[in-house]
């Protein structure tokens, strides 16, 4: 009885109301404006790219996305301007998906190794190196790809071609092998592995320790614990990280520019040494473009912007959801 009345007498927490005075309101308005710059900036980027390239979309319509030519006209109207990004659009997606396909298992394996297999000292060193690796400029990846990786890439391509030549995607017409979507995809994969690995490792490390211990106590092996607890727990985080990596691979310029022959033709044979992506198209054609061609390049940039924005928004919402929950 007495204890009940004691608890009953515990005062309810007072309802707190916040009254902002004038200085507070000014402060909040300033901060809000500052915080909204990123939103405004994102809107401005989309708007300006669209306005500057509206003429192209108006002139060419959907053909801009599907056509397979990038020919500057002669200026006197004999040869008309013909700009469209079909092969580059498919090339962008092809190279990015090759990269993602290679990077995913590597990144998951790497993250599991760091988090669950490496000794404590090794783990510390690797985590630091991982941060550093994620900050290596893509230019250096391109340089490394040209000078060092190409040799390996060509050897693997030769091997794939001779053994798996009957697969339609792998068969080649010219046995050149360097500067192919496959080689570029491999270098892009090594570029996005650190990004996906660090996101995945972060998520894996948040797995509740007692769940893993429970699994061990029930006689599970380490792989059993990973398969039944860690991977299901970290699934959405890993997918979010993969989307981040995909976004990065879709928009990569310099590494692809250095490692892929820009040829304006639809190409799905991954070992053929021709291809390209939108970003490297912009970097290649920018220097000597006519005014109309520049507009076409801006239009290509707008398409790339929309593509990566969609991928990144999905990634952002997945990552945010999986980090908010815990």
């Amino acid at each position: 009885m007495s204890s009940v009345s004691a608890t009953a007498q515990t005062p309810e927490p007072r309802e707190l109301s916040i009254i902002y005075n004038r200085a507070d309101r000014v402060f909040r308005r300033i901060v809000t404006t500052g915080a909204l710059t990123s939103l405004i900036l994102l809107g401005l980027i989309g708007m300006f790219l669209f306005v500057r390239s509206a003429q192209i979309f108006n002139d060419r319509g959907l053909k801009f996305l599907t056509g397979a030519n990038w020919t500057a006209g002669s200026g006197d109207g004999v040869i008309p301007d013909d700009f469209s990004i079909g092969p580059m659009l498919t090339g962008t997606i092809l190279v990015a998906f090759i990269a993602l396909l290679i990077a995913m298992p590597l990144a998951i394996g790497g993250a599991l190794y760091i988090e669950f297999y490496a000794a404590k000292g090794v783990r510390k060193v690797l985590t630091t190196l991982l941060d550093l690796a994620a900050a290596i400029p893509s230019l250096i990846f391109g340089l490394w790809g040209v000078a060092i990786f190409t040799e390996f890439g060509e050897r693997w391509s030769t091997l794939l071609n001779s053994r798996l030549g009957w697969v339609p995607f792998i068969k080649v017409q010219n046995e050149l092998f360097g500067r192919s979507p496959f080689v570029a995809g491999c270098v892009l994969a090594s570029l996005i592995v650190p990004i996906i690995t660090s996101v995945s490792r972060e998520v894996f490390s948040r797995t509740p320790r007692d769940l893993i211990d429970t699994c061990y106590a029930l006689g599970g092996s380490r792989w059993g614990a990973i398969r039944t607890v860690v991977l299901p727990f970290g699934k959405s985080g890993v997918i979010g990280g993969a989307m981040l990596g995909l976004g990065r691979a879709l928009g990569e310029t310099v590494a692809v520019y250095l490692l892929l022959n820009l040829v304006f033709r639809y190409n799905f044979r991954i070992l053929e040494s021709e291809g390209g992506n939108i970003a490297s198209l912009i970097a290649t054609k920018f220097g000597e473009a006519t005014e109309y061609e520049l507009k076409a390049l801006v239009a290509a940039g707008f398409v790339l912007f929309l593509l990566t924005l969609v991928v990144n928004m999905v990634a952002a919402s997945i990552v945010q959801r999986s980090t908010v929950r815990k």
Partner: protein, 348 residues
Amino acid sequence: MTETSAVTPQPTMPWQATTRKKVATLMSLVISAVVSFVIVLVTGLAGVDGFALTFFGVSFLAVAIRTFRLDSKKRKDAFVTVAIIATAVLAFSPWMSIFGSVIIKGLRGLRPNFLYETMQTTTPDDELSLGGAGHAIVGSAIMVVIATAITLPLGILSGVYLTEVRGRLTFLVRFVVQSMSGVPSIVAGLFIYTTFVNFTNAFSGMAGALALAILMLPTVARTAEEVLKLVPDDLRSASYALGARQWRTSLMVVLPTVRSGLTTASILGVARVIGETAPLLLTSLSKDSFVFNPFGGPTGSLPTYVFGLLQIGTENAINRAWAGALVLMLIVFILFSSARLIGGKDKR
């Protein structure tokens, strides 16, 4: 009595590997290495990759032999362990190779004059003791400083909004910052080209700095939010209890405590953009001599310098490019370690 003390159980750790097991593992690794070396010698498998592939194959075989008598669960676990270590090695080898090659090849091309001379009177093909990247380093420094001066205040404001003001748009702002970090760098360059470069009618260091600022903002904003989140709520409550208003609490209590964290934020932002090449190709172009004026026309920068040399492609040009890459990597490395050092101080 003596009997009970004799049977007092010693704490054991049955899950830890015994010395015998460790030795056995080591032995099987060594034997696998030797076997695969012999296989590589006998068959035509070439290079490091050939050896690695054989080694993993042989390791699988070794595990199969060693776990032959164990139950299927333990056997599977052993196989998966080998597979995960193999993918981890494969995942980490590219950047290990990059660190190694940049250091070795970069040191070969690096001369003291590389850091302060320019390419004004030197062609890329000249002796390495002539010319350098001084102009590029200065150009990069100027652009990065301007970009930091623009993004740091905006990043702090956005962090303060997300942690202190917490208005209605909190979710939206966080979401936009996150998705903005994925804007391709060439798109940022294209945006500045269609706006700033077109309006001022000139390529310039300022244009490059603005493009870098767009790429830097998300990193700075997110790091600022992370550090501000670490400020204990007690500090805010204490400040309110003393009668301070929200603006005073934020500006004079919260922000001063994270001063070093905000330094870290800007350093990480700089590390993010120092190597960006694509946007600079569309905004600041490149130049072979010193440009100190941000509005003084095309300006050299470290990434575009390396990129230009790569396109020339002669032997000395490539050597210079590696040296430039080494300088870039060193800058990133120094920025990272100082961020870690400063950030570490904050937590104490």
